[in-house]
């Protein structure tokens, strides 16, 4: 994999012409209105790929996936060479887990088609889309490889994070995962990478003492700098536990819970905060409440990697039979 620091330094210098967008300027009308206008226009002039594509974009804005798909399919019939239509179709299909295989086939075909140099600007997105599908289906090695290739074309924080998540499932790639995170974090200081790096450094049974020291320094700096500190208190508690300081861990967890409580909205909270609370509760052996938070977070569509700290904290803690979940 190419040197990520260099890639990021060059990010500013990256030069590419954005692929032309065929959608029109009508969007300052509302989507329903534009759909009406486009439909009327097509009734008059007959469908064209451009009109269908434009209507699909509006259907997508209205989250009407089947209608978007239908328009895009029809558009591909009329303009089989237009890559933007195919990519849009792949994106729409990928929204639905059951259609992911179709999306994968489509992406594969597009990659083949546009693999000759010079690669178009959207090529990196095609590869990242492949990575995302692989990640979704647990094909860790393939996912990591895809993100490597995408990052080489265009370094993006999201892809670095996703690459790390793929690698985290491959024990033999741990060093590679950490190195990648350290490099990009050093270059960018981006908080999404810091969080990823700390969690990777704090892997129970795997982390070394040196990694703990590295994590400690990062965590302490955040605890000093931040106003809301629960995320970092929980990480420090985890470190305390690993190193056998039970009382210190409990104190951190209690402080984290006190801070979290007023931040968690009763009906529709930010899922990240729910995961944090669940993890803190699980570490304090309040298993029933922690499980309730796990269910709540799942209900809010938290992806597996987001749930991981909570799932990990619950692992090995048997559900008490007598207590009913607090919901």
């Amino acid at each position: 994999m190419a040197d990520l620091c260099r890639q990021f330094t060059m990010l500013v210098a990256a030069a590419a012409i954005v692929a032309g967008d065929v959608s029109s300027a009508r969007a300052h009308e509302s989507p329903e209105h534009v759909i009406e206008v486009l439909t009327a226009e097509m009734e008059r002039t007959g469908p064209t790929a451009e009109l269908l594509y434009r209507r699909a974009v509006e259907h997508r804005a209205m989250r009407d996936w089947p209608a978007a798909e239908a328009d895009l399919r029809a558009a591909t019939q009329l303009a089989p060479e237009d890559a933007s239509i195919h990519i849009e179709l792949a994106r729409v299909l990928a929204k639905d887990r059951d259609r992911a295989f179709e999306a994968a086939l489509l992406i594969d075909g597009l990659q083949r088609k546009y693999s000759a140099a010079p690669k178009p600007d959207f090529y990196a997105d095609l590869i990242a889309l492949e990575g995302e599908l692989n990640l979704e289906f647990g094909a860790w090695e393939e996912a990591a490889l895809a993100f490597d290739r995408a990052i080489e074309l265009r370094p993006e924080v999201a892809w670095c994070v996703q690459r790390s998540r793929a690698l985290s499932h491959l024990p033999e790639k741990r060093e590679e995962q950490l190195r990648g995170l350290r490099d990009v974090y050093t270059a960018t200081q981006n908080p999404a990478l810091l969080r990823e790096l700390c969690d990777a450094l704090l892997k129970a049974d795997v982390s070394t003492a040196a990694e703990h020291r590295e994590a400690t320094a990062l965590i302490e700096a955040e605890l000093v700098a931040n106003r809301f500190r629960s995320a970092w208190l929980i990480r420090r508690a985890k470190l305390h536990r690993i190193e056998g300081r039970t009382a210190a861990a409990t104190a951190d967890l209690r402080e984290a819970l006190a801070e979290l409580e007023p931040r968690i909205h009763p009906t529709r909270p930010d899922v990240e905060l729910v995961v944090q609370r669940g993890a803190a509760l699980a570490m304090l052996d309040e298993v029933a409440k922690a499980r309730a938070d796990l269910r709540r977070a799942e209900y809010l569509y938290a992806p597996d990697w987001m749930l991981a700290p909570l799932v990990e904290a619950l692992a090995g803690r048997a559900a008490p039979t007598a207590v009913s979940p607090d919901e």
């Binding site: 012409i17 209205m62 981006n190």
Partner: protein, 681 residues
């Protein structure tokens, strides 16, 4: 041989020509090469970036100092970032190493980005940009900047917020001019910052559209005030948040490495910055992942966890709550910003959310936790008052930043594009379908929001005060605005040509009342639709109706046929104290031929037979043969009634100059609650 030496000669002359061009000796003969700017970007406590463009390369230099006649500091080409259009005449390439490319600037465009560093905090500087020794702009009272005050301590300041402005037309200019004249009114203060919530260059955000519809219009402000921008969907046609490439990203220099405070986002698409005791957060609601697991959300959480400001202001394009030209209950990006991003912002203690996209002004009550789709008012309103220091009093929150103590949402997408309204979002307190923009003042523990319309008239005022400890409480049955209905097409007229009025209807403006009218000319601007209109030349008065050719006109306009097709009429009327609250229905009864548009206190409330435009620019007027008075319900217009002083203005249109007749004969009726028992508020 000859050919080769000739070619060398041509190249040499070209080089000399380039050198001569930047020489001061010839400067006086040459038009300025300046094509954009200079304007400010990325202000911090100790730095400011000055950006400008020239046609053809120059020797970029900035002189700056603390007085316009003492620009004693200089930075030159070695320290200034140069960027150049994708296509460059070959000769120009000789003068520099490969500069960074611009996305789609006109051929031969050079853009210079000069970062002036090591400046004193909270200090006013003046500047001028030069080509070598030739001054291109500045060195006067208009070219200045202020470095940011230290983050943390309070310092009174004002920022301007505008959205969906990029039409390049008179409306955009009117909104801008209105703001500028408003801030010059006694007791007002000038702008310290400028936020644009997106859609700044219709229709596709091209380089050329940016020039004509953003830079050319706002230049008097841009040269001394940093514009902090959020990307709109129209910029999205040519610029991409994922790559950070396009005319939008060429126009703006936004923080990627937390240069102005906050945490590094590694992208210009979203970022944060500090100004005095306020933390500003800009998000890309258009083309990046809005999910709670996306990198934007991850960055946002960390950024909110970090800030120690007294106030948090977030701005982005797609509004979480709107029923203007867009519907936040139905459209994906709006739903996602509400369901997925608002919980993060409110758990982080956001105070104010500024958006656009929907072409209207909508301002909420103090709300929290309104994440449900569709949006409902129950369980989310912490204060159902108007927040006005002149009305129900300011919204109250605890001092400092606390989660879920309520935020005010403002949709300010009325900066230029065509207005429209679908309904009333249940969380809104003030909805104004007028062009305008928003001013926000922050003074210590008090934040004041003002909406100024295109006539420089204040149309909304609210405050948030953060003092002591306030325990937020949900208002059980919040007062809401009346439901909005689109003007009904339903009309009713009986066989005798009398309108079928609702039971109990009484006139607010009597049939055949005296109206002021204007025939044979167009009124200047829009002031004629407002109360207390004072034209330079007084309008004549006449009894309604107005027209010719069908023997039904009390005031005959004999000169109209073949000469003009529009007649304007206005009638002021008063309501008694408490009368407005009793009105349950409102409508217009009108004998018209062929079309008309009615305005109540400046709001367009009814349009019949005029498909496009208004006044001199009205188009597509449908022919209509009157059968007498027809009644049109205008229940939706009741909120626009003023408690005392009102005006109904009507413009009547003939569908052709040569038409054989014309009629405009309106009157206004209302239904009031029976018994006149005044309800206590």
């Amino acid at each position: 041989m000859v050919a080769a030496s000739l070619r060398r000669l041509i190249v040499t002359s070209a080089v000399i020509a380039v050198l001569l061009c930047s020489s001061p000796l010839l400067a006086a003969d040459k038009p300025t090469p300046l094509t954009r700017g200079p304007y400010l970007q990325l202000g911090t406590t100790e730095a400011m970036t000055i950006v400008w463009r020239t046609l053809g390369p120059t020797k970029p230099t900035v002189h700056y100092g603390t007085a316009p006649d003492r620009l004693d500091q200089i930075i030159g080409p070695a320290e200034i970032v140069a960027r150049v259009s994708a296509e460059v005449p070959p000769v120009e390439q000789l003068s520099t190493d490969k500069p960074l490319p611009l996305h789609s600037a006109p051929t031969g465009t050079w853009q210079y980005e000069a970062k002036l560093g090591k400046l004193a905090v909270d200090t006013k500087y003046y500047y001028a940009v030069f080509d070598g020794v030739r001054k291109l702009a500045g060195g006067d009272e208009e070219h200045y900047f202020h470095t940011h005050p230290k983050p943390g301590p309070a310092k009174p300041f004002r920022f301007w917020v505008v959205g969906d402005s990029g039409t390049g037309d008179d409306t955009q200019r009117a909104v801008y001019d209105a703001m500028r004249s408003y801030v010059k009114i006694e007791g007002q203060r000038p702008l310290d910052l400028y936020l644009h919530v997106g859609d700044m260059a219709y229709p596709k955000g091209t380089d050329d559209e940016f020039q004509r519809k953003f830079f050319d219009i706002y230049q008097p402000t841009l040269r001394n005030t940093v514009c902090w921008a959020a990307m709109g969907n129209h910029e999205g046609y040519t610029s991409k948040g994922t790559t950070g490439i396009g005319p939008y990203y060429d126009a703006y220099v936004c923080p990627k490495r937390a240069e102005a405070g906050g945490l590094p986002s590694t992208t210009e698409a979203f970022y944060s910055f500090d100004y005095a005791n306020v933390h500003f957060i800009c998000l890309d609601s258009h083309d990046l992942d809005r999910s709670p697991a996306g990198v934007m959300a991850m960055w946002l959480r960390a950024d909110l966890d970090r800030t120690k400001a007294d106030w948090i202001v977030a701005f982005f394009h797609h509004p979480p709550y709107t029923k203007g030209s867009h519907d936040s209950d139905k459209e994906g990006s709006l739903i996602e910003m509400r369901e997925q991003i608002m919980p993060i912002l409110e758990a982080g203690g956001v105070d104010l959310v500024l958006t656009g996209h929907s072409h209207i002004y909508e301002r909420s009550m103090l709300i929290d936790g309104a994440y449900h789709t569709p949006t409902i008012a129950q369980g989310v309103v912490l204060d159902d008052g108007d927040g006005s220091p002149e009305g129900d009093g300011p919204y109250r929150k605890s001092a400092g930043i606390h989660p879920h103590e309520g935020a005010v949402q403002i949709v300010t997408g009325h900066g230029g594009a065509k207005l429209s309204r679908k309904g009333t979002s249940p969380v809104m307190k003030v909805v104004v379908t007028e062009h305008g923009s928003t001013l926000i003042d922050v003074d210590g523990d008090t934040l004041t929001g003002t909406m100024v319309n295109r006539y420089a008239v204040r149309r909304d005022l609210f405050q948030i005060v953060k003092r002591g400890t306030v325990t937020p409480q949900i208002v059980a049955n919040p007062r809401q605005l009346p439901p909005f209905k689109l003007p009904t097409k339903f009309t009713s007229v009986d066989a005798k040509g009398e309108p079928v009025l609702p039971t109990g209807a009484e006139p607010l403006i009597a049939r055949h009342a005296q109206w002021e009218f204007l025939a044979g000319d167009h009124p200047e601007g829009e002031a004629w639709k407002l109360p207390d209109f004072m034209p330079a030349k007084p309008w004549p008065e006449g009894q309604a109706g107005f027209g010719y050719g069908d023997d039904d006109d009390a005031t005959e306009i004999k000169t109209m046929r073949n000469k003009f097709s529009v007649v304007y009429a206005r009638h002021e009327f008063e309501l008694d104290g408490g009368e407005k609250e009793q009105i349950t229905d409102l409508g217009i009864a009108i004998n018209y031929d062929d079309g008309f548009i009615a305005y109540l206190n400046g709001h367009e409330v009814l349009r019949v037979g005029v498909a496009e435009g208004s006044g001199a620019k009205a188009k597509k007027i449908t022919s209509h043969n009157p059968k007498g008075y027809e009644y049109f319900s205008m229940k939706h217009a009741i909120p626009y009634l003023d408690i005392d002083h009102n005006v109904l203005a009507v413009e009547g249109h003939n569908n052709s100059l040569g038409s054989s007749d014309f009629s405009l004969d309106p009157y206004l009726v209302a239904v009031k609650k029976p018994g006149g028992n005044k309800e206590k508020k």
